[in-house]
Subunit: 466 residues, 2 copies
């Protein structure tokens, strides 16, 4: 939500841009914080055009400029970079934190990236390329080399001097990392501990040897898990040899956790996860992400025709059976969707592991039986009730009711089992459990639900309706 | 995932407990970090019993004990508190950070809470009750009073002395809060700025007057949003008068964001959100959360019987229409589920607001038409194909195919519109948009899909099959 201040300022600022009053413009923008300036720029790009936004951006003090840039969406960053011209663009990108820099370079068109990297100072280039060398979605991509490290042989006084010297550029000074003479990480110490200690104390005396590390090749989800688990605002990243090569901070992780949850929700909804916010996703992109699953599910639904075609003799004799088809198969889809959503989230949060399948099965069998009995009773009552009010009459209402009731018990039980088993199975064979989407589960339950329903009907109604 | 260390230690530790070797036990546990000890205790509770876990817990050094306690689930905390006895329980709870303390007291049975609060020291009681006075899910419940505040009239040297004095108990010293003589918040300063400044510099010279605050009565989701937006590891909380009363830190927020995402995923799956992890939720609880929606949706599905009953004349004459019912209605449910999932997440992340409904409608109409045409073509091909292979024969395969194709276009279009409109509508009338669950959308689409299908059939097939 745009803050009220930003909305109030908008006409005023646009006027300043139009009139070329850049000094006043700068003063007005300096009153705002970085996120608000970023939002203001993104409104400008949308409503006035990239050129106006670039003007406003150019007047920002250099330090603010890079912070503001990091707050923009990648689309907006790209637009702005295009408008700024190569010289200025390189300066902006160079002033970013290495992890933000890697992110924007990763998202720009390859040709643009190459051009920009070639112009970076050797130092920036080294940092950026080190980060870009790790696989997508790895911890290496999230980490920053901007942290404070101290030697275990030092005193607290020497450590504090190091912090004063390098702390300005560090992403956090809450945690200070202790390395040995080879650069191997041997401990992390909270700034508090150093602040409170006597300057002459050897750092080694403050060490407790307890520390948790990430490996640069780890999946970024591992970082989310470990940081949540240990309530840390920053974690050190080591390479295969245990050498300290970077840190990951809470803000990168918060983004990752949010992105992962979004991906899971999109997948559960039966589409490929979008990479950008809903309104910023191009329509063609949106269609691609949605059409594949829809078409696939549609083809799977052909099986329902096969099942119903197989039982069409029964249908012709007792059209009343058709009336209950949507009611009955939906109860399976709904139960299955519930179970799948529960398991997908539980797996994502490590509350359940594939090895727990026996426990899960036990719970879902009991749940399915109870819920099935409840819905089955409703089903029986429905059929008999519909007969009484003349909505769906047949010669054998109680028998048809028994068919519906029994089928619902079976279908709900099977929905609980199948819906919970699918995500576990996907995880086991290395797929994303979130692909067990509601539409997929519903489709599986449509096919198996119809089979159960007609099979029960054929057995129970033989000699009466059939 | 239990770390390998914990699993290896388990038999050894159990032996130490059984043999009463408490000193060795303490030594072994001290090697582990808090999260691992917590996990170990939770395994103990499950596999050995609460008494054994309480023994292991009692030998922990006091400082570790409270950290470990904060890592346990609320169920496990309750179990442990029950086992420890009132005296010890009070000591444990008193040693927790105020926000963690409020959380556990909030979750214990009311009678136990009252008993414990009465035994807390006056100081702890005041802090706890202050936090407990705010509404559930408010920022006031998350905040901690453990932060460092300084006066704007001080020098940097005085500020550093204050940090050394109160920093030990503060939840963060990354940010130091500046208040005026009335206690009103006037700025926040990063510890870095203070560390790098000359001790004689007045604090006022370092102030830039830019700071972002939360109000104690704000919804906690507001805190999630603002902290993500401003990349802050801690944010100050003020009361209605602007007086500084606490801070909220990133770890509380990370928990909230995770909980909110879980709630949304559960609701989207068509059940009430669980309060505890899947495997720790009691079965009765699980059934309650799932049965309500299932039964409600089942009753809504009665409308499908009414629709099909209304068209049963057509069904009797052309049983072939029944064969395509699951295929056709599912395409509406799937499209609607996609749209609803997209909108629910977009609303949760503030990527879309209810005021954007025109833009959303525009996108979904286009999307629905394109996807509908695609699936409609598949539908036509399906009917004609099924006729050719003899799976579903009729006298007028192309006409039936036209009915199916046209109905699918309409249903998919309507699914895109209804699925995206439902979450927006729910938000507008003050309900949780996540209640637009896949099963609810599917049910709505079952009813409207059937109506569209049979209406098209009656018009197109009049004079031929009907």
């Amino acid at each position: 939500m745009p803050s009220p201040t930003v909305q109030l300022l908008e006409p005023e600022v646009i006027e300043l841009i139009v009139e070329g009053k850049y000094r006043e413009l700068r003063e007005v923008l300096r009153q705002l914080d970085h996120a608000d300036i970023a939002e203001f720029l993104s409104d400008l790009i949308e409503e006035q055009g990239a050129a106006e936004a670039a003007i406003a951006y150019r007047v920002l003090p250099r330090e603010d400029a890079s912070e503001v840039f990091a707050h923009l969406d990648s689309d907006e960053q790209e637009t702005l970079i295009g408008e700024l011209g190569a010289e200025r663009a390189v300066r902006v990108i160079e002033s970013l934190d290495p992890d933000d820099r890697a992110k924007i370079l990763d998202e720009l068109p390859v040709e643009v990236t190459r051009r920009i990297i070639r112009r970076l100072t050797p130092e920036s280039r080294r940092e950026t390329q080190a980060i870009l060398g790790y696989p997508a979605e790895s911890v290496g991509r999230l980490m920053t080399p901007d942290y404070v490290k101290i030697r275990k042989a030092w005193t607290v006084g020497q450590a504090m001097a190091q912090i004063r010297r390098y702390g300005k550029d560090a992403e956090t000074i809450n945690w200070i990392y202790v390395v040995d003479e080879h650069g191997e990480l041997v401990d992390d110490i909270h700034i508090r501990t150093l602040l409170l200690a006597d300057p002459d104390t050897p750092v080694e005396e403050l060490m407790d040897g307890r520390f948790i590390t990430l490996n640069a090749m780890d999946d970024r989800e591992e970082a989310v898990r470990l940081m949540a688990r240990h309530d840390r605002s920053a974690m050190p990243v080591v390479d295969g040899l245990g050498l300290l090569i970077g840190i990951v901070t809470y803000d990168d992780i918060a983004d990752v956790a949010e992105i992962e949850a979004t991906e899971d929700i999109h997948k559960l909804g039966g589409l490929e996860a979008l990479d950008a916010p809903y309104l910023s996703t191009r329509l063609v992109e949106m269609l691609k992400k949605r059409a594949g699953w829809l078409a696939g599910l549609f083809m799977m639904q052909l099986l329902t025709i096969a099942v119903m075609g197989f039982f069409d003799g029964a249908l012709e004799k007792a059209v009343i059976l058709a009336l209950f088809v949507p009611l009955i198969v939906s109860s399976g889809g709904n139960t299955g969707t519930q179970a799948a959503s529960l398991l997908v989230r539980a797996l994502a949060l490590d509350h359940v592991e594939p090895g727990d399948w026996r426990k899960v099965l036990g719970r879902e069998v009991v749940t399915g039986l109870v819920l099935g009995t409840l819905l089955g009773a409703l089903g029986l009552a429905t059929v008999v009730g519909c007969d009484l009010v003349g909505l769906a009459e047949s010669a054998y209402p109680w028998r048809v009711g028994f068919v519906v009731g029994t089928a619902v018990v079976g279908i709900v039980l099977w929905g609980s089992i199948a819906g919970s088993a699918l995500p576990l199975l996907m995880q086991r064979i290395g797929l994303d459990p979130a692909a067990s989407s509601s539409p997929l589960v519903a489709t599986i339950m449509d096919v198996s639900g119809l089979t159960i329903y007609f099979a029960v009907a054929v057995v129970v109604l033989r000699g009466t309706l059939l």
